[in-house]
Symmetry: C2
Subunit: 454 residues, 2 copies
């Protein structure tokens, strides 16, 4: 079965081609004909091949990779090495049991989250209007939360109207909807290198080419950015501006202006993921603010600050894009965010305690960041930069060590790390690991890590 | 701007082509050159065209329809007539104010829903573990709800394992993920005629052809089904088996067997949407049961029975498909259903009151159905069949009346109807309306309808 699948995936057996006869294939593989019969039967049951009466088996379209990128989503017989699979960290972290330590994961421990505000919000919801608790709600999500976002944008200097904001099931879903609306097969999409691994996983679900620009401590390298725009004419640039994931880098005003000017010249649309905004000690430059939501689309979510268990993201963009994205969301998810989720988020954000909670989280993170850097330093693991905020620390391993290998060893001992190359389109970050400083309280993290480094 | 957009959409101006000069276009349109300059500038700001220095304006790829079906998602200058737009009913119903009557909508009024169970569920959640309230949860959604579904499947005779079930953000999202995994550009997808309008809206977001088979009171017409399988070799058939939307038809055992046999012969995969299952007075035949989740994928949700405001759907299928769909859901939404939503649903389903609640709803619907049929009958509006359950009544208007026209008139008077052709790929249902018998308590529905019928 694996052999036939491989031939189909590799193009040696295109759809419509006849498979080798049972006898010939059995001889070639050195197995009995009945083994081949069983394999063909199973492949037929899966729809990969189809029997035509009296004429043998033929390849259908189903066994084919949809397009090269989607391969990784599928059922490759040989699993990819963790260093090049952008799904590795998320799958490991999401499905890990409670005893597993997760310094590689992308969220705060639950005792850092505003659990009492969530409990209070749920109790308030329990008394809400029956319609709110049972009906789909409007096509763009609850107006209360959208108004609240517009108010926050106004404080930053973005004058958005209600028809420029929609809520989505998550920040990831926001980006996915944008890709579905704006990208066409073969388009190039630009990301930072390194960038959040799920940008890559997401783009594999689209028939596009992914190109990258090296990240610097002040944003993407402007000269490289211009070169890639000229050479590849990407349609979309997907980036984090505040506390970039994984580096924690902060966009400088000069880079922001340069990136936006180049985007204008080359007809590039930008998706700016603002998910870490509230972790900043003070606001840093934003492409969406400079641009005024013209060619920059802002997306965000509350997964990192309020709860990942309540799925809610948003998109702020030109009204005509919001209209088309909202239609697309009806078509593909029927309705926007859960009104119950939207109401819960709005309630907590306006509850008064939110700013104080985030202030405490920021202080706690500052301490944890310094402590983690100090401990890692003792192992020769050095931060690429000290971020102004957030929970990530992007660190270089001592010379000669490969992060995928270290991550594999630590996984066996119940510690999930995030090896550098899952973040790197160019696969140039094999010497790096991303640490979540809030998930390093348990001393076993450092013990296991030290042992894995040999 | 509309003229240029139209030429681009129509293919008269393909990407890369130069636009007419400002002077020539101004003369052709009978407007001043400055008007054309402004229009070109705005189109450039939108990215639809791009200026090349000293050489004029050129068409970019962005103005293009992504593929013919997606046109309807976009920004057509002339809105489509309501009878041929599958978005019309959902957008009208979702965004309607509380004073609007919605006999065309697809959900029960909130006072028919288990509001007190939801309130109790929210209060229970308020005391839940902090991790449940704040973390993403596993890649396939909370195991409690998945186990509960497996238990229900077992009662029906489907022996599914935990790795065959995943939770999704909604039933619609479940179908969308399946389409993304299994369909390739140009594939044909088969739906019933009439069918749930959002199947059509959803399929417009995929580069596929939609073909249809006429619905009969006992399922799709078997002879037509075979003809379309031979002629179009569709990859996927998307259907409701229990209380089909909009007709309320019930699949017969003979048709179920015939459809499944033909699917096997022609390599067709079937998505069976089970969303109305709990509205049946007694279980009717199911393709997923006959087939044992081999080439039939079962999807469902709790939006019609528990709450539409808590987004939660599911997919039950072969383990290898669930694995690939789960990866795709991580890539495109990061994680499955909200764990909070999943827990709430599981809590209510196991709470004991659910079966009793649904029994009451079924009795109430029987009365409402008879009452609605009687009232509509007085206007000469006659049900195509009397469904065994559910809240839909698919009705034929008196000779000579067109449902889109009636729906348009009623909308102006604050009553949203569901005109037949939004459900019909072949546009053959202009004489039909779908009524939601639970939304017809207000006497104004019939008054406004009678007036609209002249």
């Amino acid at each position: 079965m694996a052999e036939i699948r491989g031939r189909i995936a590799g193009g040696a057996l295109p759809p419509g081609d006849r498979l080798p006869s049972v006898r010939r294939f059995a001889a070639a593989m050195g197995v009995s004909p009945s083994t081949v019969v069983e394999a063909y039967d199973r492949l037929e049951a899966e729809g990969v091949i189809r029997a035509r009466r009296g004429s043998g088996f033929y390849v259908t379209a189903i066994g084919l990779p949809r397009d090269p990128p989607l391969m990784a989503l599928g059922h490759a017989d040989a699993p990819r090495a963790p260093d090049i699979d952008p799904f590795w960290v998320s799958k490991q972290s999401l499905d890990a049991g409670p005893s597993v330590l997760k310094p590689g994961c992308g969220w705060l421990p639950d005792d850092w989250m505003p659990v009492s505000a969530l409990r209070k919000g749920l109790r308030t919801l329990a008394r809400a209007d029956g319609a709110l608790l049972t009906e789909y709600g409007g096509t763009r999500g609850p107006a209360a939360l959208r108004r609240l976002l517009i108010g926050r944008f106004a404080e930053e200097g973005i004058g958005a109207t209600l028809d420029q904001v929609m809520l989505t099931g998550s920040g990831t879903q926001a980006i996915d909807l944008i890709c579905r609306l704006l990208l066409r097969p073969g388009d190039a999409v630009l990301v930072d290198d390194p960038c959040y691994f799920n940008f890559q996983a997401l783009l594999r679900a689209h028939p596009v080419r992914v190109v990258s620009v090296p990240m610097t401590p002040t944003g993407p390298d402007p000269a490289a950015f211009e070169r890639v725009l000229v050479a590849e004419t990407p349609r979309l640039y997907i980036t984090n501006s505040a506390l970039q994931n994984p580096t924690g880098a902060t966009l400088s005003p000069q880079t922001a202006h340069r990136v936006l000017t180049l985007a204008q010249t080359h007809g590039l649309t930008i998706v700016e993921d603002d998910i870490f905004a509230d972790f900043e000690p003070a606001p840093s430059p934003r492409l969406a603010i400079l641009d005024g939501l013209n060619r920059v689309i802002r997306i965000g979510s509350f997964s990192k600050t309020l709860s990942s268990a309540i799925r809610c993201g948003y998109i702020a963009a030109r009204p005509e894009w919001i209209e088309a994205l909202s239609d697309l969301q009806i078509a593909t998810s029927f309705g926007a965010v859960s009104p119950v989720a939207g109401e819960l988020v709005a309630g907590i954000l306006t509850g008064g305690g939110y700013r104080k909670h985030m202030e405490e989280v920021r202080h706690r993170l500052t301490r944890a960041r310094l402590e983690a850097a100090e401990k890692l330093g003792r192992l020769g693991i050095v931060p690429w930069l000290m971020p102004r905020g957030g929970f990530y620390l992007w660190c270089r391993l001592p010379e000669g060590l490969e992060s995928a290998m270290i991550a594999g060893r630590c996984r066996e001992e119940g510690v999930i790390l995030a090896p550098g190359n899952v973040f790197s389109v160019a696969q140039s970050a094999g010497a790096f690991l991303r640490f979540n400083v809030a998930q390093m309280g348990d001393p076993r993290v450092l013990t296991v890590l030290a042992r894995a480094m040999g």
